[in-house]
């Protein structure tokens, strides 16, 4: 694989206009990746779903080169109706459109900054891969005291032009004091198999609010990995919602550092998996100062041959007294071939804290089905009603009404 990586990297350098400094940076990351390769199950964080095996099995001839000099046509049918919004459209990993027309242009700044180092410690070779092969890194800055009027939707789409390709993209966001960003990641991919590696970096200043909704609803054959790093200042709030349903493989990883007092992080997730899908959410919430709060709720509904995993970690530093941390994961297994794995982890070094976690998994409750059927629903309807109710619980946690309605419509819940 290393020869291919090297030659694909050379191709990328040839077709792009990187500066010497950038190339040096990227080479470093490339070498790190060549040394470590794709993560495998020997690493604790990849214990349940081994990405190196999954890639080997699904994409035998993975290519790391992606020709960014070609531009792609935007297919208007992928755009979300019924909600006025700002857009960033990625097609095959390349930004084709950035549209912030509804907003005050003075309050938003977009900088292109390809040469970017990684500001936090990580033991994840996929970030090395991402950093080596990203074409452009944009940084979006929301200035002080500005709340975006409309949500920003980032479209992630691929077309039939590429296949078996590794797509790497990265965005950095900086939310100034007292600002607010609502961000929807919307995945609209075709059937072709690619490995998409997304890396977001958020920096939340004092009193800012970030709401990130990741919607992977439509069945597609892509393998996806997404990593969010969130740094939070005093009194800031981050809310992440993940709907993990469409791709063959999807791992969402969230690393959240609560650096400021009274900051809080909320993570809510739904796995709704069908045949042969394998999805995972891994979170790591680091409570580093006093009076911080985190809440996580993850629910899975698992069909035939599907597998979901949730690895949640709450870390409480010895300084972080008065921490409030909560994790709950629940799963319904619909078929004898479905599988649920969980590792809700607490690592606590302060004594005046309130931390708890719960995890439950099992089949649909026959008594409830019987109850509904005795009131005239058929078996299928009762089952659907129960599953809807089970998942609705998570959707209800979305604090933005407009987006909640949008998501309910997309999922088809009532």
């Amino acid at each position: 694989m290393s020869e291919q990586l090297q030659s694909d990297f050379d191709k990328l350098v040839k077709t792009s206009k990187f500066s010497h400094e950038e190339i040096k940076f990227k080479k470093n990351f490339l070498n790190n990746f060549i040394k470590n390769g794709f993560p495998n199950r020997k690493q604790e964080d990849w214990k349940f779903l081994d990405i190196s095996q999954i890639i080997k099995k699904n994409i035998s001839d993975l290519s790391f080169f992606n020709d960014y000099s070609q531009s792609n046509k935007i297919d208007p049918s992928i755009l979300v109706d019924g909600l006025e919004h700002n857009k960033i459209i990625f097609i095959n990993g390349k930004i084709e459109k950035i549209d912030f027309n509804v907003e005050d242009q003075n309050k938003i700044e977009i900088i292109d900054e390809t040469k970017k180092d990684i500001s936090f410690d990580y033991e994840n070779s996929l970030i090395d891969l991402n950093s080596a092969f990203t074409y452009k890194v944009f940084k979006i800055i929301i200035k002080k005291d500005y709340s975006l009027k409309k949500p920003l939707i980032i479209y992630h789409s691929t077309n039939d032009k590429i296949k078996s390709t590794n797509i790497n993209l990265r965005l950095d966001f900086e939310l100034g004091e007292n600002s607010c960003l609502k961000l929807i990641d919307y995945f609209a991919n075709t059937k072709t198999k690619n490995f998409i590696n997304i890396f977001y970096n958020f920096n939340l200043e004092k009193d800012s609010i970030l709401k990130n909704y990741k919607i992977d609803k439509f069945i597609n054959n892509n393998l996806k990995y997404s990593f969010n790093n969130i740094e939070q200042g005093n009194n800031s709030i981050s809310e992440t919602f993940i709907l993990s349903a469409g791709s063959d493989y999807f791992k969402n990883e969230i690393n959240c550092n609560l650096n400021g007092e009274y900051s809080s992080a909320f993570i809510n997730g739904i796995f709704s998996l069908k045949e042969n899908q394998q999805h995972e959410i891994r979170t790591s919430i680091n409570h580093l100062v006093e009076n911080t709060k985190s809440y996580q709720l993850i629910k899975s509904v698992l069909g035939k041959n599907s597998k979901s995993a949730y690895q949640g970690r709450i870390f409480v530093n010895s300084k972080a007294q008065k921490t409030d941390g909560y994790q709950l994961s629940k799963a319904i297994l619909l078929d004898e071939t479905s599988e649920f794995n969980a590792k809700p982890e607490l690592e606590i070094y302060a004594d005046d804290v309130k931390c708890s976690h719960g995890s439950a998994s099992g089949s649909l409750d026959e008594n409830s089905i019987f109850y509904l059927m005795s009131r005239g629903l058929n078996y299928q309807q009762s089952k659907e009603l129960l599953i809807n109710g089970f998942l609705m619980d998570v959707v209800e946690k979305i604090t933005d009404v407009e987006i909640k309605n949008l998501i309910t419509n997309i999922i088809g819940l009532k």
């Binding site: 809700p344 004594d351 931390c355 439950a360 089949s363």
Partner: protein, 480 residues
Amino acid sequence: MDKREKDIENLKDYKYGFTTDIENIKAPKGLNEDVIKFISKIKKEPKWMLDFRLKAFERFKQLKEPNWQKPKYPKIDYQDLYYYSAPKSMKDKPKSLDELDPKLLETYKKLGIPLQEQARLNGIAVDAVFDSVSVATTFKEELTKQGIIFCSMSEAIQKHPDLVKKYLGTVIPVTDHFFATLNSAVFTDGSFVYIPEGVRCPMELSTYFRINASETGQFERTLIIADKGSYVSYLEGCTAPMRDENQLHAANVELIALDDAEIKYSTVQNWYPGDENGKGGIYNFVTKRGLCKGKNSKISWTQVETGSAITWKYPSCVLKGDNSIGEFYSIAITNNHQKADTGTKMIHLGKNTKSKIISKGISAGFSDMTYRGLVDINSKAKNSSNYTQCDSLLMGNKCGAHTVPYIKNKNFDSNIAHEATTSKISEEQLHYCQQRGLNPEEAVGLIVNGFCKEVLQQLPMEFAVEAQKLVGISLEGSVG
């Protein structure tokens, strides 16, 4: 001074920290084939036993020491240990207690475990293991009448080779992990229990482990077989002298329950935990595994872990038989610089299997405590269920409490529920107790005992009292 205060005064220091001055036979230092052959020879073992050991040693040479655990420790030099140490007087095994070296009797008396049968009021049969060998087993006759075999492992290898051959290494195979394999290669003694079909063991069986010699590792092996429809309750206690060096204790315990049998295994572990600054103490790296082989069988582990510098163990249940039950009750207390990474594994293979895990962790001082557990429900384990509860209590902000449960559900008929909380003793509870005339330490003792009650209830009577005291004492000086 009231009684409790007196107790505490007596027990404030590790009272089992004395050494017994007794002549020892040791194997040459180091680990190699010759040492294994030496151990095997001195124990007059048959060839198949030596082959078993050598096979394990072959495997051991290929294994790497694991390092994924939370408490890290300085590298152990396995060549710098004595793998066999026995009191000289034990060379030719004494036929009865009267022939036993009086120094040994004295030691056990000091530990509160008289080996003379008449000294025992309640019927507990004891097998005492001193360094590497079993020195005495009490109440043998009475047990023999019922067909129960309770003896040292070496004796079992001589007298009941068929049973040993049939079951040894079936739960913990010679090819298991690093420490288990090391044990298979060099184990010296331990207890062997066989309960015949349909017999309910009339008394508690108990083994008392003691490490005395310095620079030795203790590697004992316990094998308990409960035949169809039988019941046994087994207790294990351990102490060691105070030494500045760290000593390794890597035991293997195998339990096998056949159809309708029940084994209850209780441990009160009070190895020397090291001094206040974390110097010395025992490394307690034990492999305990039970196999519910038959239908409707039950294995229950209860442990009170207050000692050891590092405790690293996961008493496990493999629920193979249909309708079998596995239970795990644990209290782990760490104070000063102690570290613990403990928990359980429940592996559900049979239909309608049930397991229950109750774990209570208390950390104080500079200590670190981790609960690590696995619940794995196999796709064939229809209609099985698990309930896990692990609570941690923290005292002070220099210590840590961690919970790392692994949950794997591959069966849609099965239910798993897991709950965990971490908190400190609430000010209100303390205030309430103090208002009613308890001093802060007593109040904490009371609250902690309440916190642990669910587990303490599972212990046999005599042990429960001792454990309750131990819980109070381990936390001495951690309040305020």
